[in-house]
């Protein structure tokens, strides 16, 4: 079986498992497991966003927690004003997820546009440091902004609504997260296969060659970075709704690191890498987190093993390397 077929089979398997396990939990009345699967799905959405920048474009953003946090605060602030019946910047609050998601994506996209425009002229360690610096600015801004809870964060008393679903029920919330994840994966696969993806992946490998072919690396990378931030911002809004809480911790640099770890564990640039990686991370947290406080140490060792012996992450290990043939 060639590696492309293998990868599709593996992807179908992962997608199936991520649906079957919470389905079983729903039937067996185990809401904790459903919520765990929802968390995996939402983390995976965030990582799908980062996978555009990091996986396709080779832009190692160490600040994607910024977009996660932005999305989270959009959801939190909208719900806060809806709950209290007050206005923000002349607009009423809302407890509807769809407009919240739209706003989260637009805002994240705009901020990613600014960050990208200022950082994409650099590369390597400088790029990593600049993206980190912007995320830290967001973190400290949220920390020192008392109107929305400051360091205490902002609770979402009633989970925001989605037409036709009862989002307060774990199973409904899972279905929503799962559907959005599938849509994001579809978008990722689509743009990767299209001319845009061909250009973005080429620029990662050889920007000088791309430029000599008339493809401007800066413009393509900037658009990739903006799309990347938008999807991670969407995940942030959903994450805040899942935990019904948003705080500056969502923008901490460790969160940016976790998103990178997810992608490396799952497989950089691979379609289902973020899903596999998120499942591994959450799985580790749950199983080893219960046994030892030092579960992150063990995770670090696994990460080291992946970097040294399985560069393609779990997907690469099981499905072989990518082929851009034809």
């Amino acid at each position: 079986m060639d590696s492309t077929r293998k990868e599709w089979l593996l992807n179908a398997l992962i997608a199936g498992a991520l649906f079957a396990v919470p389905l079983w939990a729903w039937l067996a009345n185990e809401p904790f497991i459903i919520t765990l699967a929802t968390r995996i799905a939402i983390l995976a959405i965030a990582a799908v966003g980062l996978n555009i920048a990091l996986g396709l474009g080779g832009m190692v953003s160490f600040g994607h927690a910024l977009y996660l946090g932005l999305g989270g605060y959009v959801a939190g602030i909208a719900a806060h004003h809806a709950f209290h019946g007050t206005e923000v910047l002349g607009l009423p609050g809302t407890n509807q997820m769809l407009p919240i998601w739209a706003l989260a994506m637009v805002l994240s996209g705009l901020v990613a546009g600014v960050v990208g425009a200022l950082s994409l002229r650099t590369s390597g360690i400088f790029f990593i440091m600049i993206t980190l610096a912007f995320a830290q600015m967001g973190f400290f801004f949220a920390l020192s902004w008392p109107a929305y809870g400051g360091e205490d964060g902002l609770p979402i008393f009633v989970r925001n609504q989605f037409p036709g679903l009862n989002t307060a029920r774990p199973w409904d919330m899972f279905l929503l997260a799962y559907a959005v994840l599938m849509l994001c994966l579809l978008a990722f696969a689509g743009l990767r296969a299209a001319r845009f993806g061909a250009a973005l992946m080429a620029i990662r490998q050889n920007p000088d060659r791309a430029a000599a072919l008339g493809i401007s690396p800066f413009g393509i990378k900037l658009v990739g970075f903006v799309l990347s931030g938008m999807i991670t911002g969407l995940a942030g809004a959903m994450m805040a709704d899942l935990t019904r809480f948003v705080s500056p911790a969502m923008m901490a640099w460790t969160v940016s690191g976790e998103l990178i770890v997810i992608i490396i564990l799952g497989g950089v640039g691979r379609l289902f890498g973020p899903v596999a990686g998120a499942a591994i991370l959450v799985g580790f947290e749950v199983f080893f987190g219960g046994l030892t406080e030092h579960w992150k140490l063990w995770l670090g060792l696994v990460l080291l093993g992946v970097v040294l012996f399985a560069r393609g992450g779990l997907i690469g290990l099981l499905a072989g390397r990518v082929r851009h043939g034809g």
Binding site: G190, A194, Q205, D208, A211, L213, G325
Partner: protein, 251 residues
């Protein structure tokens, strides 16, 4: 002149105290191969960098079909009609030969902000790329990754990518480097035909190839052009003999 496709006016570029390009002016006319020769470190690749836009000149201008392109980026110059190959093969290593050429066709069309249609279902792109690969003799190697092509095949793929740009002129930096006798012979024949597509500014160390191919030759020494002329004129030029080739019999 109307027949000048490419014109360089007084280009200079220094690296610190080193004048790598020193007041260079030259033209490339429709239908010709203009060879640029000179000893190692003479500044040939630097000049190529100034023309392609990789390097900014300290002084001077670059004109393409009467348009000043000196301020354009590398990508904008490529879209304006410069098709270059690199001295050290510069390909997209993980892409197959076919996809490398498809990327060039995509760059030529200027349609890289398309998010929906898969390139591998774009028959125009695929058949266009296949035709170009066939023309340089890489047809059977279309699905091989660039990283595992042989050195000679990589040189040909460089040319195929330049060809895919349907440029107004070609800038080829030592396309024969490391090709061996047989490969060089084939490439000489190929370049002879290629100049009908567009004129070629050719950097080359292989003197036999240069004298067979070039309609005009410019000799670059320490960043300066010391002579320009036909093969016969260059052969006969005493300054060239003395400064560049040293020994008389090597011409």
């Amino acid at each position: 002149m109307a027949d000048d496709i490419l014109a360089l006016h007084g280009l200079s570029r220094a690296f610190g105290a080193l004048k790598a390009t020193d007041d260079v002016s030259l033209t490339l006319r429709r239908g010709e191969i203009h060879a640029l020769i000179g000893p190692n470190g003479a500044g040939k690749s630097t000049l190529m960098g100034l023309v392609s836009g990789k390097l900014a000149p300290d002084r001077g201008t670059v004109w393409l079909e009467g348009r000043d392109i000196t301020r354009l980026s590398v990508a904008a110059r490529a879209r304006a009609g410069l098709g270059r190959s690199f001295q050290v093969s510069s390909l997209i290593p993980e892409y197959s030969a076919l996809r490398n050429v498809m990327l060039a066709l995509q760059g030529r069309a200027g349609h890289s902000y398309r998010f929906l249609r898969p390139v591998m279902r774009d028959q125009a792109l695929i058949s266009g790329a296949r035709a170009i690969l066939a023309r340089v003799g890489l047809g059977p190697r279309a699905s091989v990754e660039a990283a595992v092509l042989s050195h000679g095949e990589r040189r040909l793929l460089e040319i195929a990518m330049a060809l895919a740009l349907s440029p107004k002129c070609f800038l080829l930096d030592e396309p024969m480097a490391g090709l061996g006798a047989e490969g060089t012979k084939q490439l000489v024949t190929f370049l002879h035909g290629l100049k009908q597509d567009a004129p070629i500014l050719l950097i080359e160390h292989d003197m036999d190839a240069v004298f067979q191919l070039a309609d005009r030759i410019s000799v670059l020494v320490y960043g300066r052009i010391i002579a320009t002329g036909s093969a016969a004129e260059i052969r006969a030029n005493p300054q060239v003999r003395a400064v560049y080739l040293g020994t008389e019999d090597s011409l």
